[in-house]
Amino acid sequence: MSALSRRSRWGLRSVALIYLAALLMVPVGMIFYRAFEHGLSAPIDAVTSANGLHAFWLTILCVGIAVPLNTLFGVVTALVLVRQNFRGKALLNAAIDLPFAISPVVIGLALFLVYAPRNSWFGGWLMNNGIQVIFSVPGMILATIFVSLPFVVREVMPVLQEIGMDQEEAAETLGASPWQTFWKVTLPAIRWGVTYGVVLATARALGEFGAVSVVAGNISGTGGTQTLPLYVKNQFDNFNLAGAYGAAIVLAILAIAVLFGMNLLQRRSRSAEGGEDEHELPGPGVFVPQPVKEA
């Protein structure tokens, strides 16, 4: 039992709840309230307009490319960082966190310096080969990849460390090739780390504004380069508040749906595998089964 009295437990709980409410729930709630304040038509118009739909699909495209790539890269990198030793490992490990450390606007500028059609490293060469990166979709995808890169790696690494190599070695002694071992043993063991990383990366990629804003050039319209966050800002700047709130809600709902989806999956699968605290029933056999506490 906790040594805390009833009163101090309630006190702590209230502090946590008030903090969350004041700083998170009230602002998000206000968006919902304001969007639907004057009925449903204005916000619905905003997101079903040609420009709004274009922004929506552009966002889905960026997320749809960035997140799978970062998932694949993230799992491979986590495996390399946890299971192998090599020179420069610490450096690579530190580099993974760069997107967390650097301001998204700076990331946008950095991409601009590398890929801009003029005065850049190889933007000019790409342009001559018919690929425009900056002020165009490829640049936005690159920016989205950059900002959402660390999540899967950082979620998977601790799980890999925790499970150790026992299960993988056991699979190998049973005849499984490295490829079979990965698919049948490693991946199922790290799946919640991967899932959580994907959810965080998706949420980050959906909402990215700064880096995408710099490389996209904020060209509005159906042929433009506005993702949903840029569209929200654009509507806001043009005093179309209902439109801005409407688009903002779509973003919020997408992110919340991803979070809920994960929770649901996790709960279903956890209950199928039996909770950690479940006690076994005495069964047949020569032994009286005894719960064993593991160190």
Binding site: E169, A170, T173, G175, G283
Partner: protein, 332 residues
């Protein structure tokens, strides 16, 4: 299948885990690798399994050089200290894993898994997940999983190390019986000398990456080859240059010229057996093992001054084999 390890050396950086180790394990035998932690016993087991590559030397299974053979192709069963259960699979799927990798048909798999589940007494647990099992059950599942692919040799790395004392003892007896049924050449690693003596036919004692001695449980106890084996296999105390077992000591109330003076520090009753803890005049401590009756006859009590005399001691020449000294029976 007989296992033969020839002159294997394995280093991890500067640390020499195995230093020119050679062992022979007979076909169908149950052999224990016994040693303290860091003695290289687990590394040796992993080298035999192919989970570690030796820097030099050879591993022969059934006379065939397997040194360079991949783990997957070695066909060895391996059981880990912490079970290494596939947590996302049921007991059935865990045991079936190796058979599925081999591409056996589902009928064969069902039949074979059923047999194994009966063998390890897990009937009724097929649909359970590992975290719904006790430690002992998990380890039996792991054993069934290793046996499923009909391995040429069975290797167990501290298989009972994570279990509590009672379960450990039950599993020990059970492993012994299982081996009588299955007869697969088995090597198990342990740091517990009692466990090794209880289960194994042959014990290989390791220390500092080297083999100290190998032989039957009785040989090791009666005829230890080094001070290390003397002190590690069974209890032993040092008295001057000689080593003595705690049950090889007489206690009396009067000195007789051959005895050493000591004070009884503590008398510990362990059921039939009683441990008498003594302090010698030079401050050195050692204990003597007596029966309950002997203690009563001698009327020993804590704080008493007594005189002790070893019945038999063992002296080890530096680097050489020990020689036994039996003291003449006392003439009263």
């Amino acid at each position: 299948m007989a296992i033969s390890v020839k002159n294997v050396t394995k280093r991890f950086g500067d640390f020499v885990a195995l230093d020119d180790v050679s062992i022979d394990v007979p076909d169908g035998g149950l052999t224990a690798l016994l040693g303290p932690s860091g003695s290289g016993k687990s590394t040796l087991l992993r080298v035999i399994a192919g989970l570690e590559q030796p820097d030099s030397g050879q591993v022969l299974i059934s006379g065939e050089d397997n040194t360079g053979t991949r783990v997957q192709d070695r066909n060895v069963g391996f059981v880990f200290q912490h079970y290494a259960a596939f947590k996302h699979m049921t007991v059935f799927d865990n045991i079936a894993f190796g058979l599925r990798i081999k591409g056996e048909g589902s009928g064969t798999i069902r039949e074979r898994v059923k047999q194994l589940i009966e063998l390890v007494h897990l009937k009724g647990f097929e649909r359970r997940y590992p975290n719904q099992l006790s430690g002992g059950q998990r380890q039996r599942m792991a054993l069934a999983r290793a046996l499923a692919v009909e391995p040429r040799v069975l290797l167990l790395d501290e298989p009972f190390g994570a279990l509590d004392a009672k379960v450990r003892e039950e599993l020990r007896t059970w492993l012994r019986r299982l081996h009588d049924d299955v007869h697969v050449t088995t090597i198990f690693v342990t740091h517990d000398q009692e466990e090794a003596m209880d289960v194994a036919e042959q014990i290989i004692v390791m220390n500092d990456g080297k083999v100290e001695q190998s032989g039957g449980p009785r040989d090791l106890y009666e005829d230890p080859a080094s001070e290390f084996v003397m002190s590690f296999v069974g209890p032993a105390h040092r008295l001057g240059d000689a080593w003595v077992r705690p049950h090889d000591v007489d206690i009396r109330h009067e000195p007789n010229g051959q005895t050493i003076e000591a004070m009884i520090q503590r008398i510990v009753h362990l059921g039939f057996e009683v441990r008498v803890e003594l302090t010698l005049t030079d401050g050195e401590q050692f204990s003597v093992q007596l029966t309950r009756d002997e203690v009563e006859q001698l009327e020993l009590s804590e704080g008493q001054i007594v005189f002790v005399r070893p019945r038999s001691t063992r002296v080890f020449a530096p680097g050489g084999r020990g020689s036994k000294v039996t003291n003449k029976p006392e003439v009263a």
